[in-house]
Amino acid sequence: MICVAQRNHREIISFRLVITHKIRQRQKRYHTISRNHVQHSMQCRSYETLSTRQTMQQFQTKVTRITLMLCMSSIFVTPNVYAENKSTFDAVAPIFIRHCLQCHQGNEPSGGLNLTTSVTFTSGGDNGKPTENSDSGISLLWDRISSGEMPPDSKLTNTELANVKDWIRAGSPWPERKLHLFDMTTEQRAGIDWWSLQPLNQTVIPPEFRDEPNPIDAFVKAKLKDTGLAISPAVGSATLFRRLSLHLHGMNPSQQNNIDLFDFKNRYNEHVSDFLDSPRYGERWARHWLDIARFGESNGFERDKSRPDAWRYRDWVIKAFNKNMPYDQFCRMQIAGDCLPRMGNEGTIATGFLVAGAYDDVGQSQQSAAMRAVVRQDELEDYVGTVSQAFLGLTTNCARCHDHKFDPILQSEYYALCAALDGVKPGRREVTPAAVLAETKKQVDDLKLKIKKTTSQLLDLENTIRREASNQILGNDKSQSLILQPIAHWDFEQDFNDKLGNLHGKAKGGAHLENGKLVLNGKQAHVLTEPLEQPLHAKTLVATVHLQNLEQQGGAAISLLSNSPNHFDAIVYGERQRGKWIAGSENFIRTKDVSALPESLDNDSAQPIHMAITYATDGTISIYRNGEAYGTSYERPNPIYYPGKTRIGFGIRLLPVGGNRMLTGHIHEASLYDRVLSKDEIRSLSNGDKFLSNQKLAGLIPDEQNRSRTRLRSELHRLLNKNIQVQKQFTYAVQPKQPQPTHRLIRGNTATPAELVMPAGIASIQGGDPMFELSADSTDRDRRIKLAEWITSAKNPLFSRVIVNRVWQHHFGAGIVRTSSDFGFTGGKPSHPELLDFLANHLIKSGWDLKELHRLIVTSKTWQQAVTEDPRGDRIDVDNRLLWRGNRSRLDAESIRDSILQMAGQLNESGGGPSYQDFRTFNFNSQFYEVLDREGEQYNRRTIYRMIIRSGRHRLLDAFDCPDPSATAPKRSRTTTPLQSLSLMNHPFTIRMSSHFSNRVRSEAGQRPAEQVKRAIQLAWFRLPTSEEQKKFTDFVHEHDLESLCRVLINSNEFLYVD
């Protein structure tokens, strides 16, 4: 069976058509289709075939059946009964597929004629039945094709005509088979037999070169042998060193002082390992990946809001490369990391890939739902397009409006991918590591414990002090107790001032003093003090109040008001229970109804009432009226009041002023304590006893105790002032939502939804299972997990081929397939198909080990070739597709900047963390960014750490082809322009770095120009100057200055290119 399957595969390959027609004709065809919009739409309609998932399944089985059929017809001798019929139809079917089906299929075929089944064929079209007898006496079909009327854009060959004629003469036999446009590759498009969609071939090393130590060389040499070319000799050590550094680290080597170039090649493998183990490797290869991920740190579009947390994805990519994360896992996490088990925060961060592109927040907030739907479809196209180009090298998004014109991708399959990604929305997600959370909790617990301990120490001490002071003052009279000084006291005799500290009050809304009382009218009148100067946890509020109206509801005598966080504690009258006092608090959080008698003229309420409420650190709250317990104590969590944010109010429960929050009455005096007064102390206070001032107290007790008290109090304040908060971490990633049922949209128009589409993959990619078996209401989690599994399967031939080719591209300047994100019909064909599959298999077998792939490549002779010049080679293969020489590469934008920093001794190698922002930003409704040349170490990090703002592009980097981060860039263009030269000569960065460069050279080479020249050349070019250069440059330095020479070197081709 295995044998049959392999054979079968090979048969298909040989069956495949060799595409000889020029692309221009393809273009022409394409344009003819689109010349006129109406015509285009009609054309589009005819593409809408096989649209439902059901037919997809049929299609899939059909694919298998055709494959089997092809296999049978070519391997086995088919029974004679069918032989004749089959052979004539087999000759005709490809002609129909190639020349006719583009128009004659689907629900609305051209001229009503559908050429896909026997039934539709025989029933004919608007102009009659194709089998009908006609003028020619053969048939209508024959008339059309023999006259050249059909097909309209190409001509049938004589053989093809003859085959059709034979078939008609044989009675147009049509076995049970449905033809489909995707059945085979034609001049116009790819079919299911397209090379890149087939399973990987188990290619073997060409026998003739089996002895090559590196299999890459064997494949390359085998291919070259046919042309009579050979691979070129290896480059010298210095160039090899520089090439290795630029390819693996994206900048000039930094270790040039320590490396023995004579020994470099002997210990080459060790050097390769060192390079791969350096964190610079991840920074380089992450940059390549971020190009594909269209990674930017702002929204783009109108407002271009920045994404301050997006860098975590960038760091994740760098780390993944450095850790050598298996490539399949790397990709799985980017598609569904937040859904997969055991991925934790890393998984969430990885999904930054999906949403790394631009986001139209204004479009999403417009009023029109219809327009918002269009914006959402554009978003989905971005997701689907990026996912399928990045991982599969397919442009599935071309099928948004109709079946793909060039690749076997149905329109419904595009929407199946949309369905798989419909739960994706961008957002800010918390990714605080569990360890950070645990650490914070531990710190909070420790602090609480310390506060408790210190508080009890202080209380013990104060009790002792009080006892001793009491003994001294009161002797043996135990009927009274001595009260220590509060932190603030207001007597309202002459003013609103705090008689002990700085919490002076200000009268507002008509509050005034009268006979040593604060008079409050219950309307606007109140007093607010200066903010607290110390934190308050345990506390006692005390006020002597004379109520002017016992029916009032909700005013407060004294209130502790905090604005951030917003809470208050107050002595409140009548708010929840008529005539009763409560401990008032926001939303009654620390409030409990009391069982006590309400105020009435029958009791002593006509007189001033002494009220006190104590709040202990453990949350115990007790209320006292005229020195007696008022209701019972209870517990509630007790908040800390912070200095600067808390004021004391009199006559007001909480702000704003007005309503039932205001008290009608007089306040005779009030105090605030930073501790819980005992019942005795309160009773004593209510009897009119005065507190003992700190000053007086100090005179009574030993210095030792005084010092301890001061120390403990300040220690407690310090602890209470500590504000431990979790440093929450966020990332810009997928913020999933429940997917909505997805419909295919006719012509991509949101106003014309067609049938429901289930999440699924692309059927024509052979090997994987594209059916996700998910329902229309399946969860986002299930959808993305299935999608990730299907994409990253080792059976998916595109997944491994595409990445191997990308890695190759960055090492050789061009991929084995030159269009690295397009393995479809319009993309390129592989120059070394066997090698591509060998490497893909190798990658899978190695456990998706990318570093191993790099190692294999950079240790090959092929990669180490010199950039030789050979007219014969140019004649045969000017583009060096066959790799008969090395390719010279120009440093890309980031490599240029990083290498200049390196050369100038200014590179700040610290990696990771928030991006450096080399711009000034301001908001004028939209966010604007003015890119500047910022000085300072933090701006001298590698360019990958620059904050990438979509509208804040950097003109020096741009000039050297740094891509627009709004679209995925699988390969950078490489241009040469006058603006580039101006920028590199005159950009403030160059000027500044020339100066740093020269300073470095001076410090390393001393003051002699000859030595300086030598060192500068060494740093820029990795070699010593020739004697001619030495003289010329030294003269130049003499005549001008070293800075100018450095500026010239930065601009030199020998610096900008590596051989």
């Binding site: 689109s34 269009v374 180009q389 300047g813 010279r888 000039a959």
Partner: protein, 480 residues
């Protein structure tokens, strides 16, 4: 040889046609690199011109924010009659801010102007004087009424970021006539950049040299043109001389590499640009009457007038495409045409800045004989609603965005002027006759430039991309 290589060669040929440029140099400059992305056969895009061009340069004025068609070029007497009435429509129209107030007549009187009697409102009295030069398209429609995607569409044909703008395509397709200046220049409003900034003149996926380059009409015109002052002219010159020697020496051992010599040549071209920019931006060389023609003598028109005059001088120098912004970012106070609150104030102010300089530009191009092979085009990303942006029973003073129907105008390229193309319904709400999309307009502009919009392509990510995507028709009645 790749597509791009081929086009490059052509564009570099023209770029380098005077002076430094020899055929050899053009060859040297032609290759992006021997390892180009596309392995496309040269037939993939055939070189322009595809037919006899009628124009060779374009000046594009972007009235950023949304110019009201019913207050400028789309005369609607019916709207005057319905003033204060509500829109009779079965469905509530979908507008950006969702508020559909009462219909409002124009705050400006319309008059027929010029020999052909083109309707132009009093908003543009000076443009009215050159009415016979203008071709007004009254039947434009856009795909979105959201500023930035709409501006992207205006410039690139697509609603999304990341596509090349018209100017970039033109630079790619036609190159430049000068080797002293970039082929695509952008003159922003002196009050600030439009929302999205440089995204609006992106090369998209085309090579970087086709990106629009900002040239300011106030302050330093181009960045990095000269070294800072502490580097003396002689030292700069000697440095470049040494660089040239070094690079030539390096090249001598690598003579097969065209790219290396292209870089050498690019420094020569940069030097030319250093000469050309100060010269071209020096408006004092223009006569007093020219200054007056562009309104440089009046405070309200001096800013935009300078931009228009600079644009003309750039075109004279051989620049292909100059884009001029009338209007900057969104925000408060408004500095563009986005008249949500008060049309009279907003459009009155903006037109006051732009009307005279634009009329002056057309007159000037005409008297210099340049108008016949120049396209002047003035567009806005969309128009404005005929009803006000207010409660449904209120007559407000501002108008919301309208993607369904709006007006743009063109002049030059021997188009018969003083006429309109297409029309909207009786109140100017929706384009009805000869509905014209952005790709249609782009296709026609390319047509005037001798380019078949279906043949100007660039391979990117699996598709031979076109400015017009799969849309766009050349409309003979439009281009005359």
């Amino acid at each position: 040889m790749s597509t791009e290589t081929k086009l490059d060669r052509r564009s570099w040929l023209s770029f380098a046609s005077s002076g430094v440029g020899s055929i050899a140099l053009a060859n040297l400059l032609s290759k992006d690199s021997p390892l180009n992305a596309g392995s496309i056969s040269p037939e993939a895009s055939d070189p322009a011109p595809h037919h006899l061009p009628r124009a060779k340069r374009v000046i594009h004025i972007c009235m950023f924010g949304g110019l009201s068609q019913v207050d400028s070029f789309d005369y609607k007497p019916e709207l005057t009659k319905l003033h204060g009435k509500s829109l009779s429509s079965e469905e509530k129209p979908d507008v950006f801010f969702g508020k559909v107030g009462l219909l409002r007549k124009s705050d400006w009187k319309f008059q027929q102007r010029g020999e052909n009697g083109l309707w132009v409102s009093d908003l543009f009295p000076h443009l009215g004087q050159v009415a016979d030069e203008l071709t007004v398209v009254n039947s434009m429609f856009a795909e979105t009424s959201n500023h930035t995607p709409a501006t992207f569409q205006e410039n690139t044909g697509f609603r999304l970021n990341g596509f090349p703008t018209f100017g970039a395509w033109m630079s790619y397709g036609m190159g430049s006539e000068t080797d002293e200046l970039p082929s695509y220049l952008v003159i922003p409003d002196t009050r600030g950049l439009p929302a999205g900034g440089s995204i609006n003149w992106s090369n998209g996926f085309l090579p970087a040299r086709h990106q629009g380059v900002i040239m300011r009409s106030k302050g330093q015109p181009v960045d990095d043109l000269f070294p800072p002052k502490n580097i003396s002219a002689i030292r700069d010159l000697e440095s470049r001389r040494l660089l040239n020697e070094i690079n030539r020496k390096h090249y001598s051992k690598r003579a097969a590499d065209d790219e290396l010599s292209a870089r050498i040549a690019s420094y020569g071209l940069a030097a030319k640009m250093q000469m050309a920019v100060p010269e071209v931006t020096d408006l004092t060389k223009e006569s007093e009457s020219t200054h007056q023609l562009y309104g440089l003598d009046k405070p309200e028109t001096v800013d935009f007038g300078r931009s228009c005059l600079l644009a003309r001088r750039l075109l004279e120098k051989g620049v292909r495409f100059v884009q001029l912004y009338s209007g900057g970012a969104f925000g408060s106070p408004r500095i563009n045409w986005d008249g949500h609150e008060n049309m009279k104030q907003n459009h009155g102010r903006e037109a006051g800045r732009a009307d005279k300089p634009l009329a002056g530009l057309i007159q000037d191009l005409r008297q210099r004989g340049m108008l016949d092979d120049t396209i002047v085009i003035c567009t806005s990303e969309f128009g404005r609603t005929p009803f006000t942006q207010s409660a449904s029973d209120k007559l407000g003073t501002g108008r919301d965005h309208n993607q369904n129907g709006f007006s743009i105008w063109m002049a030059g390229a021997k188009m018969p002027g003083g006429r309109t193309y297409g029309s909207t319904d009786e109140i100017g709400w929706q384009a009805t006759e000869e509905r014209t999309s952005w790709p249609d307009l782009h296709a026609n502009l390319l047509h005037l430039l001798g380019i078949d919009h279906e043949r100007l392509t660039y391979y990117h990510n699996g598709i031979q991309r076109r400015l017009t995507n799969v849309h766009g028709s050349v409309l003979p009645e439009l281009v005359g």
